[in-house]
């Protein structure tokens, strides 16, 4: 015979109220109070009352004691001074009902709480010296630039770890350094060179005012991709690449708004009415950076169809022919993706800085003639107030 476990399936409950059942539904019905139950209830109530009174008494006693301790300050001049706490003690114990309930919130506001926390942390750190600490948010807040990148940094951020040897894509054989413990090790030098090249491309595109789109749709990459896009002055997708965003863009993204800006990125409000939502051709990115190409094959395929250059992190199981500029690195580690995103983001930031510098001098880093001609054409169309053919036929 085996001992029953809690995880064993429970026997199915029988028919409630059946006479064979040990417990009947009649048991659960509340019975009318009788004399005996009433007396019991009275007794219970009396006992509870007495317990509460006792508790209040004890509480008053302890608070009085604590207050007396607070009042007592050690006087170095009169070390034999006795704390005068007897009066307060008797007062408190004589009036237990007047004591206020203890304050459940020890801090009045968040500011005080934060001050307290900071203080305790400072006290904890006193007398200890921490060296070689790792803070995962450093890569987000202060990512290295392409010039600051080193091989030990790449190694520490796990960019060299590939997939199991059986999962490899043989097109990546030139990026692979060797086999260790059943996985491929990506060559750090190759990663370094390709990452620098990609950073250069991002910087140049940003300098010429191109639209850069960062795509990272894996779980946990949201913060990284948002941070990267913010740095590079680009755009990001972290949820899902909607298939057809490029090939069927007018339908999918037509309802989004655009604005016309000058070389200093200030909006020109004059064209606001001409470019209302749904009244313009969709914008297409000039560069797409993808952090997880395996999940975004559709995106890369559409970029190929629409002639958009792409940059992607290529792990040992991905196909490098999907992208224009592969970065051979580990795409499964968030730390590695954060480093690569940070470097690209810094490159974009540098490009934007150069572009704005050029704009301060009064010239644009990109051609503006075709934009002028387009805007003029739009204005003439608006001035002519062309009716749509259907409406015109209705009027006739």
């Amino acid at each position: 015979m085996l001992r029953q476990s809690k995880r064993d399936p429970k026997p199915s409950p029988g028919i409630p109220g059946h006479p064979d059942e040990p417990s009947s539904i009649l048991d659960t019905l509340p019975h009318p109070p009788t004399a005996a139950t009433r007396s019991l209830a009275k007794k219970l109530e009396a006992q509870e009352n007495s317990i509460q009174a006792l508790r209040a008494d004890v509480h008053a006693h302890t608070t009085a004691r604590i207050m007396s301790l607070d009042e007592f300050e050690f006087d170095p001049k009169h070390p034999s001074a006795v704390p005068k706490s007897t009066t307060s003690k008797t007062e408190a114990s004589s009036a237990p009902t007047t004591t206020a309930p203890p304050n459940t919130l020890p801090f009045d506001n968040l500011k005080e709480l934060n001050r307290y926390r900071r203080h305790t942390q400072q006290e904890k750190r006193r007398g200890t010296h921490l060296s070689q600490t790792y803070d995962p948010t450093t890569l987000l807040h202060r990512p290295p630039t392409a010039a600051e990148l080193t091989l030990p940094m790449l190694l520490a951020n796990q960019t060299h770890l590939g997939h199991a040897t059986s999962l490899w894509n043989p097109s990546n054989s030139s990026y692979i350094f060797g086999v260790r413990d059943g996985i491929h090790i990506i060559s750090l030098e190759v990663t370094y060179a390709y990452l620098k090249r990609a950073a250069k491309v991002v910087q140049e595109v940003a300098r010429r005012g191109g639209i850069i789109l960062f795509v990272a749709t894996r779980k946990g990459q949201e913060e990284i991709v948002v941070n990267t896009a913010k740095l590079a002055g680009g755009y990001h997708i972290f949820h899902r690449w909607v298939p057809g965003s490029l090939t069927n863009g007018q339908q999918i993204l037509g309802a989004c708004g655009v604005k016309v800006v000058d070389i200093h990125d200030r909006e020109i409000t004059q064209y606001r009415n001409a470019f209302t939502a749904g009244n313009h051709t969709v914008m297409r990115p000039d560069l797409v950076v993808c952090m997880n190409p395996l999940e975004n094959q559709v995106c890369l395929h559409e970029c190929g169809l629409f002639n958009v250059p792409t940059i992607a992190v290529i792990d040992t199981d991905a196909n490098p022919a999907w992208v224009t500029y592969p970065i051979p690195a580990n795409d499964d580690s968030l730390r590695s993706v954060a480093l690569i995103g940070g470097v690209l983001g810094q490159a974009g930031k540098e490009g934007q800085r150069l572009r704005k510098l050029e704009a301060m001098r009064g010239s644009a880093t990109y051609p503006t003639d075709h934009v002028h001609s387009t805007l003029e054409a739009i204005q003439t169309i608006a001035a002519m107030d062309v009716q749509e053919p259907e409406k015109a036929s209705e009027r006739d």
Binding site: A156, S173, F177, R197, K200, E204, D286, P309
Partner: protein, 289 residues
Amino acid sequence: MGRISLTALNVRRTAVAKLKAKQITQQPSWLNIVGDIPPAQILVRQPSLQHPLTKVRTRSLPSGKTEQYVQVVEPRKRKTLKDRHLFMPKRLQYEEDSLRSRFFSDHPWELARPRVVLETSGDQYKNADWSTGLIQPGVPLSGESVVQRQLWLLQNVPDITVSQAYDIARKEFYSLRRQEETRNRIAAEEARHMGAQFGKPAIQIGMKIENEMYNDWERWSRQVVAEQTQRTAAFEGSISKVEDDSIKEIAQSEGEPERPAIGTGVFAQQQKLESRSLRRAGQQAKASV
């Protein structure tokens, strides 16, 4: 299927062709950039890197000088040399691997110690100088220190064997561990003296949980036994306490200790006892009459 699409690689060429054919009117902003920074060559297979096992040793020459030299252990050649093996990545091997496996097979409990495996900057071993001993700045004492120290000895002490270097490194390690343990013990004693409480150790907590499980089981088994005896008693009746005592008394008076019977002896013993008790009951009845 099977064909490789080079569309992504040829973005520039396509864009230039489209411009020429006036499919697009405006030159894309990235066109010159992709021209200036061309995409890298992909899909080109290079013969894979060889990773022979290299060992650095020092030997003393007859002239009295010492000389450091490098031994290269070539991997065994494959019997069937196929073209694809030429491009397969090779296994990475280092001399430390054998030293590490030796140390940890001899000291398996070193692996049970908590250890930080997180890389901080990748430069943690930059300031380590293994000629000075096992304690290095920023490197906690562990089996890895022994391996590095042994490697240094192997590379720099003339005519030393692997086992000699191992003995030196591990004895240094033992003495340091002893020091550490003594220091920790004294620190704990001092802290206890000053009123620190460390709570129950993990093993005691484990024992407590185990005891609870045993007690629980015992309670359950007692209940089951009680139920079973009740059921059998309801089915075939039980001997009353008086009868049981009398049987024991007889057994004592006869002088032979009651022995548990085996096999068919069970029935014989049972019969004997029954007849005795019956006889005694009859005698009692007569006496009462």
